[in-house]
């Protein structure tokens, strides 16, 4: 049911629906049930008074903060998590300083005069349509400010906040601003603000420092006054080749780059489900999945990247891969500096043993689930090819046998 829960977690009420709900409440005549007829007249008067008061309350601005200072609501987690999504053929291009200056208006000057180095990147969908723009500004002291500009790509979810957020209205457009503190280090965190200007979404985020709230407030003011919301001139210089081809198992096994790493013999009880060959600006991989009932296995086959290289583990250091050392919930038991490598270690093929596979095997009971077998998640390095495996409902010995058979 994880897929269903993840899916539903991403379903939220849109700004439009929220507005419809509130507008509907504003215009709906209010009626209270009257328990005793003899109190009808008095209660009718009270009801009329309530209607008048209720409509006047909802019509007024008092649900918002109208001061000129932004209200930074306490956030439960970083809003960047809410923006993860899959865009077919996504690619990026760096924007010139001139284009960036034109987009940000006085905010560009403010950042430059404050000592920031400014770089901007535009993201596009596979057909070259602009998805969004990210401006990253870095100070000499390594403070960072991100300004993200996009048509519909960014939303700051109301559920991001620990309490119902107060929305700043004193600036013109509604501005939802927040402050998130990194739970692992109270000195780290971000200040952020989101608003819409002429139909274009803006999101500003700065790493926490003494004047971060003031900095965000100044940036918001400058963007509101001088930002260019006409993004029609932002187009890619060229559209890189990309593909996302669904393959049969035979086609996957015949892939000239990665076919040798697709198992000829699958894990017991699992059947081929799908295969996808993905090529893009930053991706070159073959994905293959198998499943049966609640059991599944998925392989992602790609070249070793520089980022991957830091996750290749030394078997003599079990703290970097052995899940038995870290009880669930691992978010609170795995040290922060090891979380990435423990989450997805890469074993060299020559190091791979049953003991290592067993160190990655664990069970997790979910109501209504088929709990036979183990869950495992790790990668194996074959020369310069990495095979990432995610499996549920398998035995370590079978997994080892399958992995040893790859790359022949």
């Amino acid at each position: 049911m994880k897929g269903y829960i993840d899916y539903m977690d991403n379903v939220t009420v849109s700004e439009q629906l929220h507005t419809k709900i509130m507008t509907g409440l504003k215009h709906k005549p209010v009626r209270r049930s009257l328990p005793f007829r003899r109190y009808a007249a008095a209660c009718a008067c009270a009801a009329i008074a309530f209607v008048v008061l209720w409509v006047s309350v909802l019509s007024g601005p008092s649900g918002y903060v109208s001061d000129e200072a932004l209200v930074f609501n306490q956030a439960k987690h970083s809003p960047a998590l809410a923006t993860k999504r899959h865009i077919p053929g996504y690619f990026q291009e760096e924007l010139s300083q001139e284009t960036t200056q034109n987009l940000l208006g006085d905010a560009w000057d403010f950042l430059r005069d404050s000592g920031y180095t400014i770089t901007a990147t535009a993201g596009f969908t596979g057909d070259g349509t602009l998805d969004g723009i990210t401006v990253l500004s870095t100070s000499k002291g390594n403070q960072q400010i991100r300004v993200m500009i996009a048509g519909n790509a960014l939303t700051v979810d109301r559920q991001l906040f620990a309490r119902d957020p107060l929305i700043s209205k004193g600036f013109g457009p509604s501005i939802m601003a927040g402050h998130w503190v990194d739970p692992s280090d109270a000195n780290k965190g971000i200040y952020f603000a989101a608003f819409q200007l002429n139909g274009t979404d803006f999101y500003i985020e700065t790493t926490s420092h003494k004047d971060a709230d003031e900095e965000v407030t100044k940036l918001v003011n400058k963007l509101l006054a001088t930002a260019n919301t006409d993004l029609s001139g932002i187009a890619p210089s060229h559209i890189p080749e990309w593909r996302e081809d669904e393959l049969t198992i035979a086609q996957a096994q015949a892939d000239p780059n990665f076919g040798a790493y697709v198992p000829v013999k699958t894990l017991p009880g699992l059947a081929f489900e799908s295969a996808m060959r993905i090529v893009g600006q930053s991706q070159d991989e073959l994905r293959v999945s198998y499943h049966s009932g609640m059991k599944y296995a998925s392989l992602v086959i790609s070249r070793l990247s520089a980022e991957d290289a830091s996750r290749v583990v030394d078997p003599s250091k079990p703290e970097t891969y052995d899940l038995r050392l870290y009880p669930i919930p691992r978010a609170s038991t795995v040290p922060a500096e090891l979380s990435e490598i423990v989450g997805n270690p890469i074993f060299k093929l020559e190091d791979l043993t049953l003991a290592l596979v067993e160190a990655r095997a664990y069970t997790l009971n979910e109501a209504g689930d088929d709990n036979t077998g183990y869950r495992m998640s790790f990668s194996v390095l074959y020369g310069d090819v990495v095979v990432r495996l995610d499996v549920k409902g398998a035995q370590p010995g079978d997994v080892l046998e399958m992995l040893k058979s790859l790359g022949q």
């Binding site: 209270r32 008092s62 649900g63 119902d164 489900e273 009932g293 109501a367």
Partner: protein, 161 residues
């Protein structure tokens, strides 16, 4: 803070706290966005009309979900709805890995979808679901068992294709 502001804050706060949860519940039962959007709006109108006295956060949440489930059931019973086919295209986009499971769940009859959603997503026990949906505990348990069986069958058939 004035009474007016208190009242506004309370209502807006209630909407903000529950609108997405109720929308998900309505979407799970109705299977299409248009009906789910209508229902979640109706739920909050019911709050204004009946002004329930919530005893606790749990009571508030359960009351709102119960109204959502009841309004969904009413709409499912209406002649108009029976002539309308839910549109798969109207669902929010799912990732490839989620699609088969979602398709299987959404192909179940609404009564199964309701218990699946309340049990797995909202985390209610069968007894609590029985109270919310105004059914017997044994009926809820039976619905849940049958829903799981149907899901397993559907996923097996999917696999065989």
């Amino acid at each position: 803070m004035s009474d007016f502001s208190s009242r506004l804050n309370w209502m807006e706060s209630l909407v903000l706290r529950h609108e997405s949860r109720l929308y998900r519940t309505a979407l799970a039962i109705m299977g299409n966005k248009a009906d789910a959007e209508d229902i979640v709006q109706e739920v909050f109108l019911k709050v204004v009309q009946s002004r329930p006295d919530f005893q606790s956060d749990q009571h508030e949440k359960a009351w709102l979900i119960r109204v959502t489930a009841n309004l969904s059931k009413s709409r499912l019973r209406s002649t108009w709805w029976k002539k309308t086919e839910p549109l798969l295209e109207s669902y929010p986009a799912a990732t490839g890995e989620q699609y088969d499971l979602l398709e299987s769940i959404l192909s179940l009859p609404p009564k199964y979808r309701a218990v699946i959603h309340l049990f797995y997503y909202e985390g209610y026990a069968t007894g609590e679901i029985a109270e919310i949906t105004e059914q017997r505990d044994s009926t809820v348990r039976s619905l849940l068992t049958r829903a799981r069986q149907r899901l397993k069958t559907a996923l097996r058939e999917e696999e065989a294709l």
